[in-house]
């Protein structure tokens, strides 16, 4: 590095001595600068290691390592007994299938609804659309179990909508009775997680070059063609990131499942929770938790990958 800044071509003219002195000084300054940079970089690395050990170690790493270890050991050493215990329990058989089915139904619907709402809010804003957008930003801070809880007042068998339908059609009994089960869980998760798709989708619409859309329109493209041939390919990375995030959050959801589904519907989080706190069987719960951890961390890795590509793509575009 420092040899570059000191070209050692001999100077045939008289001021060689002065030049040499200047060169030496320059190279010394460059060397000390390089040394300082190197020292600072090393200090920063030690600082990072310190944070890793003192902050993240006890908060994140140690608990997760203990979790995995507990699921893999029994009093005699390594074994997979906890896993077979978790999956052979008659109450939790088929639990992964149920979890995945609910995940795909509710996160898929929430993504479709979120993208559709975001497109309407951005391209055809109705009066109050700005307020709705602001509200959706606040909605993200709303606890999920409260959403499930309010749906009881609306769609429960004695709720407003059910009684309203009964009065409207003069029925004998309240018509709606789906809330405490798969239907209610999917409804609550769609309502709660659609806003999480709306926000990234709106953000990626906002970075679109509107001139492209106008050009497509002026060349005679219809609304559908503009949507599918221009907007969707351009906004795709943001929409994909939002959709994956929605799947991840829906998989990790617990409050809605506890309020609406705990009675009839055994999903992975509820099974883990009940074997940890009701049966007090920590190894079995840990086995279930490791399975769930693998599922959600692989989804999360995918999310980070897509998000990083999106950031990089935006950087190139500018």
């Amino acid at each position: 590095m420092s040899s570059l800044s000191t070209p050692d071509t001999p100077n045939p003219l008289g001021s060689a001595a002065a030049d040499a002195a200047a060169d030496v000084r320059r190279s010394a300054s460059a060397a000390s600068h390089t040394a300082a940079v190197k020292r600072r970089e090393r200090a920063a690395q030690w600082h990072l290691l310190f944070i890793l050990v003192v902050v993240l170690g006890p908060l994140v790493v140690y608990p997760l390592v203990r979790l995995v270890l507990l699921s893999l050991t029994d009093p005699h050493g390594l074994s997979l007994h906890a896993y077979s215990a978790f999956f052979s329990n008659p109450e939790t058989s088929g639990v992964i299938g149920t979890t995945l089915w609910i995940l795909f139904a509710s996160a898929g619907l929430a993504s479709l609804l979120g993208v559709a709402l975001a497109s309407i809010l951005f391209f055809k804003p109705f009066p109050g659309a700005r307020m709705i957008t602001r509200f959706l930003e606040l909605f993200v801070a709303f606890p999920s179990f409260l959403v499930a809880f309010t749906l009881i007042f609306l769609y429960g068998s004695q709720g407003s909508v059910s009684i309203g339908l009964q009065r409207l059609f003069h029925l004998q009994a309240p018509p709606l009775d789906f809330l405490f089960g798969v239907g209610g869980v999917i409804l609550a998760e769609v309502v709660f997680y659609a806003p999480f798709v709306v926000r990234p989708t709106l953000a990626s619409f906002a970075t679109l070059d509107m001139r492209l859309i106008e050009a497509a329109r002026s060349l005679g493209a219809s609304g559908w063609m503009v949507a599918f041939k221009v907007i969707l390919p351009l906004a795709w990375p943001g929409i994909a990131a939002g959709t994956i995030l929605c799947f991840l959050l829906t998989l990790n959801e617990f409050g809605i499942l506890l309020v609406l589904g705990s009675a009839h519907l055994i999903t992975l989080p509820v099974a883990i929770y009940s074997s940890a706190t009701v049966d007090l069987d920590l190894p079995t719960a840990a086995a279930g938790a490791v399975v769930m951890l693998i599922m959600s961390l692989s989804l999360y890795a995918l999310y980070r990958q897509v998000n990083r590509r999106k950031v990089k793509g935006a950087g190139h575009g500018r």
Partner: protein
């Protein structure tokens, strides 16, 4: 809507540009569609919040469309256990918000410009990992790690703070890291080149620039901590139930109206905190 694109027949008179006129049916359908979308937004997202407010002041609400009367009796009947839960929630929330903000700021400053490769990438990944871990799983992991000797936290509120801190940390870290912009680096280098020692650069240049991010991080940490259910429910020791735990317990036993009174208080407290902390954040760089 036939568009004439024959270039040889240019119009002699310049007609005024007119908006494309659509047929009446299309316009009515479009209007109906937008109205439906607006109604759907209101129905799905605004109504739940209104329902919490309405049900907490309802005298009785079951088997009717609207509550059959209004009273404040659910608030008057809140017992000491409810207020204990509220106090616990507030204390834990503040602790988590302050600690999470400090740790997030520290992480962001240490990782600035280094989160792409080497040790920095590992630290960044681990710090963001709780975002991808289900809250029940994280709660269970913390419970397993800290319920026995040598680290026994299972009888104090520390374990709740601990688990919520792990969950909140990625958000606080992102908040602070997003605020460390390139301009700020230039300012810091300028201050350092003018001879300010690092501590002075941090105190006089960096922290004042980060005030909006710190406020946002405090507000976010507080709100997330107040609403956290899965991890807290898994680890909480007896006597340290937070409001969400009490609310879910009441809902499971069918006491809907007291539960909504308590949740309304929770929502108002968290909204008030958000407004108090984040209200005067100057809106900078909206682009």
């Amino acid at each position: 809507m036939a568009v004439e694109l024959d270039p040889t027949v240019l119009p002699v008179v310049h007609k005024k540009a007119r908006p494309v006129r659509r047929s009446l049916v299309v316009r009515v359908l479009g209007g109906l569609f937008l109205g439906f979308a607006a109604l759907l937004c209101f129905w799905l997202f605004v109504l739940p919040v209104l329902v919490v407010a309405l049900s907490s002041v309802a005298a009785h609400w079951s088997g009717t469309i609207l509550p059959d009367g209004f009273s404040m009796r659910w608030f008057e009947r809140l017992g000491s256990s409810d207020f204990d839960a509220l106090t616990t929630s507030l204390e834990i929330g503040m602790g988590v918000a302050v600690l999470g903000t400090i740790l997030g700021l520290w992480l962001a400053l240490a990782l600035e410009g280094r989160d792409r490769r080497g040790l920095g990438a590992i630290v960044d990944t681990i710090a963001m990992m709780p975002n991808g871990v289900p809250s029940v799983v994280l709660g269970l992991a913390v419970l397993i790690a800290y319920h026995k000797r040598p680290f026994d936290l299972s009888s104090s509120a520390a374990i709740v703070v601990f688990v919520q801190l792990a969950l909140v940390l990625p958000f606080c870290y992102r908040c602070a890291a997003a605020a460390l912009r390139p301009e700020l680096t230039i300012l810091r280098e300028a201050a350092a080149s003018l001879g300010a020692p690092p501590s002075m650069v941090l105190r006089r240049v960096v922290l004042p620039q980060l005030v909006p991010a710190i406020r946002a991080s405090l507000a976010l940490g507080f709100a997330l901590s107040l609403g956290e259910l899965g991890a807290t429910l898994t680890v909480y020791p007896p006597g340290f139930a937070t409001v969400p735990i009490v609310v879910v317990g009441q809902v499971e036993r069918g006491y809907y109206l007291p539960a909504s009174a308590l949740s309304l208080i929770l929502l108002l407290v968290s909204l008030a905190a958000l407004l108090l902390i984040a209200a005067r954040v100057p809106r900078r760089r909206v682009d």
